[in-house]
């Protein structure tokens, strides 16, 4: 047996073991590349390709304070609540419900997403007449219970609405939508 054959034996085993160990990470990375919109300037950045041009609602929970089963990356559910893709590398934790079309109002879209999201998106809110809705919790995650708010309310945290990547100046019940709106809820400080 030649030294070249011996070298091939050793190298082939080395590469096989390396690939076996890293197969899962490589496979997830390939799935991300082939399945996701990867464009920082697009509000659909990081969402599945087939949601491009459609309406999506995302719920981002603070690390360590996500509903059960949603603490390990970002899950993507279709309008019927079936998980279609999981991205463990996304830099926010929670879930997105997408693939909606033709909702004209933010609250109607939110209610459809909440209905699909199950226990992770159960919504509690307070309605202020003339001011619209104030979200108290999604999936049982109340910002001031998960994160520390000042006793005198001089500072604290609340669920905040973003529309196409920008903080919304309009409440969800009055928010007009576009055909490809991405609505995001995350906890911000005030």
């Amino acid at each position: 047996m030649t030294s070249a054959e011996n070298r091939l034996r050793v190298l082939s085993v080395f590469w096989l073991v390396f690939l076996l160990i890293s197969a899962q990470s490589i496979s997830i990375e390939f799935a991300r590349i082939s399945n996701l919109v990867l464009d920082d300037d697009d509000s659909h950045n990081g969402l599945p390709n087939d949601w491009d041009g459609m309406q999506v609602v995302c719920f981002n929970f603070p690390q360590g304070h996500a509903p059960e089963g949603y603490n390990d990356g970002r899950h993507h559910l279709d309008p019927s609540g079936v998980e279609k893709f999981f991205d463990p590398y996304w830099n926010e934790t929670g879930l997105c419900v997408g693939g909606f079309e033709e909702f004209g109002n933010g609250l109607d879209l939110l209610q459809a997403a909440v209905s699909a999201g199950g226990h992770a998106t159960v919504m509690e809110y307070t309605e202020y007449s003339g001011l619209g809705l104030m979200i108290d919790s999604f999936g049982g995650i109340n910002p001031c219970e998960a994160l520390a708010c000042a006793d005198d309310w001089s500072s604290g945290f609340s669920w905040t609405l973003y529309h196409n990547g920008l903080k919304s100046t309009i409440g969800v019940s009055a928010l007009p939508l576009e055909g490809d709106s991405v609505v995001t809820w995350r906890i911000d400080s005030w």
Binding site: M1, S12, S27, F30
Partner: protein, 215 residues
């Protein structure tokens, strides 16, 4: 009542057990081959089929690593295209009777048959004057891994639209790489002994291997 089979073992231990079993089967088949008279072509192909099916079933826990592709390529090199097609289709059918038979069996048989035909086509470059070119065979087997996986991927067109096929194929590249690395490892460790066995029984000169299919 005792449940003597209620033993839980870890996946790694199971894999080690399967690898040992495959080595044992390989050794037993090698011993059996020594009792064959030279030029027992179909008996040797049957032994190769048993080893390939055992390898595919026992290595099933490792995604896409199995000895079938290399065995059908070597069969194409030493015995010609028609015998490699017969062996490839039989291996696909028999192993899927254990692993699960369905529409994909047809595409796997097609993919491995293509690998065997490829082996027959390049036989003179792989094996000439009694010498096996391991480097060329390793490259051919790595290439065949991708070709096989992409042929099998075509089966998704029964359920997905054609525009999703490239996405499906790109997502599968890590598994194609595993298949290719596995093939190269099998070539490095098994191609020489398998070639020794095959040349003892081959009645089909390699240069006529492909022509035989066309005639």
């Amino acid at each position: 009542m005792f449940d003597a089979h209620a033993i839980t073992i870890s996946p790694v231990a199971m894999l080690a057990l399967n690898a040992s079993l495959l080595a044992f089967i390989g050794w037993a088949l090698w011993r059996a081959e020594q009792r064959l008279t030279p030029a027992s072509e179909w008996l040797l192909l049957a032994l190769m089929g048993v080893f390939a099916v055992s390898g595919r079933v026992l290595l099933d826990p490792i995604p896409n690593v199995q000895p079938v592709t290399v065995i059908v390529i070597l069969t194409g090199v030493h015995f010609g295209a028609s015998r490699s097609i017969a062996l490839a289709a039989s291996i696909a059918l028999v192993s899927n009777m254990i692993l699960g038979h369905g529409l994909w069996t047809f595409y796997q048989a097609l993919g491995w048959s293509a690998a065997g035909i490829f082996g027959a086509m390049i036989s003179s470059r792989i094996y000439s004057e009694g010498s096996l070119n391991i480097t060329r065979l390793a490259m051919a087997s790595a290439l065949a891994a991708f070709a096989f996986d992409w042929i099998v991927s075509i089966s998704v067109l029964h359920t997905l639209s054609p525009e999703l096929l490239p996405v499906y194929i790109i997502s599968g590249i890590p598994f194609d790489l595993l298949h290719a690395a596995g093939n190269v490892a099998f070539v490095a460790w098994l191609a020489m002994p398998i070639t020794d066995l095959m040349t003892r029984h081959s009645q089909t000169p390699s240069r006529t291997a492909l022509r035989e299919l066309a005639s």
